[in-house]
């Protein structure tokens, strides 16, 4: 997986005019607010981001709110095609950004597993093959025959995680929410991820929980205002990040 000088900016059509005062006062962590050639307001969410990951790498994305972590995940997933720069990935990508995507609360757990599997690009036959494995991991038992509206948020999370990881994706992308599960789920999730990262996969995790980043990942990328502040082994980058955050 390779990213070279990737830049992404979003046009904001309803922001109205921005005064000089607002600009002068802006010192936050978010992407820089600028104007494009047509004098439209744009948010430069990512600027010149380069990184390369190889098989078995587990990358933690860290940085303050609005630094561009989720945008970067979406760029890797191919959702935002960058304006400048190149993104190259090899292998099947499994994005896990929104736990409730494609979940129909009136359908049973099994039916929702099928829809989610299709959304992630599985063939109907592959889904049926993986169904017992998915059902086993969710530990939902009889609940899988019930409509999903009877589930708790944590149960939906388990279902989503089980589907996203069932086919050992080559690239797994995870946003914060995955860490909302209980301790039992987290330890099982960690085990499952360790297992398939062992078979040559890449994990990219965006999180504010530095403990989990250290435990799950080998490398870290520190983003700030859409730019790379540091990229390297997880312990070094997190140490730098914590120093800057506390100062």
């Amino acid at each position: 997986m390779l990213l070279d000088e990737v830049a992404v900016s979003f046009p904001v059509y309803q922001a109205g005019s921005r005064s000089l005062k607002k600009r002068a006062l802006f010192h936050g962590s978010g992407g820089r607010i600028g104007r494009d050639a047509h004098q439209r307001i744009i948010v430069e969410a990512l600027r010149g981001v380069s990184l390369s990951l190889k098989r078995g790498d587990r990358l933690a994305l860290i940085g303050p709110n609005g630094a561009g972590k989720t945008t970067l995940l979406r760029v890797i997933a191919g959702i935002y095609e960058p304006e400048r720069g190149v993104v190259r990935t090899r292998g099947r990508i499994s994005p896990m950004f929104d736990v409730s995507l494609g979940i129909d609360a009136e359908l049973s757990g099994y039916d929702n597993i099928r829809i989610r599997g299709l959304l992630l690009g599985l063939s109907p036959r592959a889904i049926e093959q993986h169904l017992p494995d998915i059902a086993e991991f969710t530990e939902l038992g009889g609940y899988l025959d019930m409509p999903v509206r009877t589930y708790s948020a944590g149960m939906i999370l388990r279902l989503g995680f089980a589907v996203a990881t069932c086919f050992e994706p080559e690239i797994l992308l995870m946003d914060e929410w995955i860490l909302a599960g209980d301790a039992h789920f987290l330890s099982r999730a960690e085990l499952r991820i360790k297992r398939f990262v062992g078979h040559a996969s890449v994990l990219v995790l965006s999180s504010h929980n530095l403990d989990i980043c250290r435990r799950w990942c080998t490398k870290a990328l520190w983003l700030d205002q859409g730019q790379v502040r540091a990229f390297g082994p997880v312990d070094e980058v997190i140490a730098d990040y914590s120093r800057s955050a506390s100062s």
Binding site: R74, I79, P95, D98, L101, D104, I115, L118, L119
Partner: protein, 269 residues
């Protein structure tokens, strides 16, 4: 330098998007179904509420308009019925097309799927609705003893052409509406006007010397190519030509817009 380093052109990316969307048919067939079931969940008749609604409208309008227009009910009712069924399909497409992409925002922002998948899902679900309504027409012509004969099969390619046009206009309107959120509102008001000026509840002959008002209306021809065969005669050659011309124009606009702005959709949402 090397051929593989040249980024693929916009048109070929658009074509790849289309091929990818078609290949994912198990997904959009399923999602399209759920779109309909979702609305009628836990109701007794389910999607057949659609059929019931249309049946009531057809009977009421058929009865009233055969009086207003002083036409025999046996002639007007099947004409009004099939005209309304086709019009319901067209207007459902025009009303919903603006939200093809903006309504799928949660999908588009979470997972990379071909964009045209959302168009296929949309047109497919509207086609299912039409299929639910179609038995009304069959019952009606059976009741009146008006079997159209083999010429009715000419309605099949005509209907496919109509569906193709629906898909193409959904691409264009969906794209434009994702960027300019006023477009769906404009289309909604125009659709109402089109319904009133198009011969659906009345026949073009009633325009007398002003029949060009019907013949200048592309919607009239698109309806005619499907309606005529089902009522027992072949469509006029000019209706076929106008429909083909509309399709070509539609195709050119949709391909141009989609290949130019496909990558921007995610940013607009």
């Amino acid at each position: 330098m090397l051929a593989k380093d040249i980024p693929p052109g916009r048109l070929s990316l658009a074509v790849a998007d289309f091929a990818g969307a078609v290949a994912l048919w198990p997904l959009w067939v399923r999602l399209g179904w759920h779109d309909i079931l979702f609305r009628y969940r836990r109701s007794l008749l389910g999607p057949f509420w659609l059929t019931a609604n249309t049946a009531i409208t057809v009977i009421a309008l058929g009865l009233v308009y055969s009086e207003v227009l002083r036409m025999p009910i046996r002639e007007l009712m099947p004409y009004v019925c099939i005209g309304l069924l086709i019009w319901n399909f067209i207007s459902a497409i025009l009303h919903g097309a603006g939200e093809v992409f903006s309504g799928a925002e949660s999908y588009i922002k979470q997972v990379r799927l071909p964009y045209l998948l959302y168009v296929l899902r949309f047109v497919w679900s509207k086609t299912i609705i039409l299929a639910h309504d179609f038995p009304i027409f069959i019952v009606l012509i059976l009741c009146f003893g008006l079997w159209p004969g083999a010429v009715a099969f000419a309605a099949i390619p005509a209907f496919l052409l109509l569906v193709l046009n629906g898909a193409l206009i959904s691409v264009s309107l969906g794209l434009l509406s994702a960027r300019f959120r006023d477009i769906p509102r404009i289309v909604t008001s125009l659709t109402q006007i089109v319904f009133l000026v198009t011969p659906i509840l009345w026949t073009p002959e009633m325009l007398g010397p002003r029949i060009y008002l019907a013949y200048g209306n592309p919607f009239f021809h698109l309806i005619e190519i499907v309606r005529r065969p089902l009522l027992g005669s072949l469509p006029l050659a000019e209706a076929v030509w106008v429909s083909l011309l509309v399709t070509v124009l539609n195709l050119v606009v949709a391909v141009a817009l989609f290949s130019r702005f496909r990558a921007r959709i995610a940013y607009w949402l």
